[in-house]
Symmetry: C2
Subunit: 301 residues, 2 copies
């Protein structure tokens, strides 16, 4: 695998859904290609923005195969492999290894709450050992707002101690600066990528490796500018723009809102569909989102 | 299916795990048989106590097949079919229908949080419709401490309105009397089974249908006595005993503690094993649990 490639701007890619409620793999591959052409360093399939947990193991495997068959380079793909059942996470990880993608993004099992660090370490360790390949490269996925099972710095450090380079980094979706700072301080050898676009510049300045983020689906150029930090004035302007864009999402469901913008940008209403338990934006919400988006037109440039 | 059978005492059955970390289906069937012989009305496989979310679809299907092949009557079995991915819940539901078990126990998809009622209704509706059989019978599983996605009375009522007898009841694991009372008031036609053993007598007195509970794995006679309510003095004594037993679990992880007691009762250390992310009790914890259990010896009678 190619974990060293997972630096800079990686898109937490939306998953398009066709009229039959199935993953539209052709549109997904097309979207990945467009994002790479727009300057993104890579794409991440089946994270939270990609509704990963809403798709079965078979669906996730078939979609990754289709995206690679469509010509997306595997070293520019990270794939989410988390599941509540370890055999599922193992199967997805083995497939990712066979595909030789850049790395996997692994949620800890998240049904049980109040899980001990020892349980998180045992679960991730089971996946590393069962992957059956010394080349496996894993990013631990810390997103307590959804999983409610955090990756503690202590658990991550223990995993790194046991498994070395197989534990390549952390996607920190805490949306919290103090958490990022703790990961950096405790895990100097790991690549820490933030999920919060507004923290990206600060994180890069403090040794962060980049971002895996959702807003790059619709504003890749803006996130690219934040990553590249070309001069103080330009960067400050980009920072103001990302903060305005993030505000559009306040009080709105993230994935449905992002898909509504994607449909507007692409002129393709296929993007509006989400899989239950998510709910697509109502007609009224859609109009409000599109209006707010158009008001931020400079962001879309 | 046989939802009318799901009344009284149904065990949220523990899942034994063998030395290779796999479901020990022979021991599971033996445990189910012992529980039915001890006076339980039925068994529920792959709820929270049964670590259901820790096993893959294939593991859950194979274990149910093995339990039925071992001679457990399907009408005395409820099976947990919830999953974050609807195709998995559909596959498990179709299998349960083919097996003609009493009913299914369905968690809503639980990865995304702050899910709208419309999303829960769409998700459950998808499972009902895709089950492909008008005889499907579903108990909705309300356990916000784990799922963080509640079943609201309004969502349950809407599902009942749309799907009639396919929505047979609710397992209320809120551990909260007010929630039970709300379900009863809003859903007079549904069978409400409580997860909290200490609320069982009160719930039965107020029109509840019974319980699906974990402690009946180790104290079936006591829970049977609570269900049967043979006279005020006897019932009050049983109530005191269940409250003492519940106290043993305070501050201890539920499944590992229950399995420790199960190992003590059966003399079979196989029961100690849990699957990650759960962690088996340490030697010191085990001794403390066994000592506390022996102190409650009358409960075990």
């Amino acid at each position: 695998m190619h974990a060293d490639r997972v630096r800079g701007l990686w898109v937490a890619t939306l998953t398009p859904i066709d009229g039959a409620g199935q993953i539209d793999a052709a549109r997904l591959a097309q979207h990945c290609r467009a994002l790479l052409m727009a300057g993104c360093d890579g794409v991440t399939l089946f994270g939270t923005t990609g509704e990963g947990q809403s798709f079965s193991v078979a669906e996730r495997i078939a979609a990754l195969d289709a995206v690679l068959a469509a010509g997306i380079a595997p070293e520019r793909v990270v794939v989410g492999t988390g599941a509540t059942a370890l055999p599922d996470a193992v199967e997805l990880t083995r497939h990712a290894v066979r595909c030789d993608v850049a790395a996997t993004l692994l949620l800890p099992p998240f049904y049980f709450k109040d899980v001990a660090d020892a349980g998180v370490v045992a679960a991730v360790g089971n996946v590393v050992e069962a992957a059956g390949d010394p080349g496996v490269r894993i990013f631990l996925y810390h997103i307590p707002s959804m999983s409610a099972v955090p990756i503690s710095p202590a658990a991550a450090a223990e995993l790194r101690r046991r498994y070395g380079p197989a534990i390549a980094g952390i996607k920190d979706s805490s949306l919290d600066w103090a958490t990022f700072a703790r990961f950096r301080a405790h895990l100097p050898d790991l690549a820490i990528l933030v999920g919060d676009e507004t923290l990206l510049v600060r994180a890069l300045n403090e040794g962060g490796a980049g971002t895996i983020c959702g807003l790059s689906n619709v504003a890749p150029a803006l996130i690219r500018a934040l990553c590249d930090r070309r001069g103080a004035a330009e960067t400050a302007k980009s920072q103001r723009e990302i903060e305005r864009l993030v505000k559009l999402f306040a009080g709105r469901p993230f994935v449905a809102t992002l898909k509504t913008i994607m449909a507007e940008i692409s002129g393709d209403p296929t993007w509006l569909a989400v899989r239950a338990p998510l709910v697509a934006a109502s007609e009224a919400e859609r109009r409000a989102i599109v209006e707010a988006w158009r008001g931020l037109s400079r962001v879309a440039a």
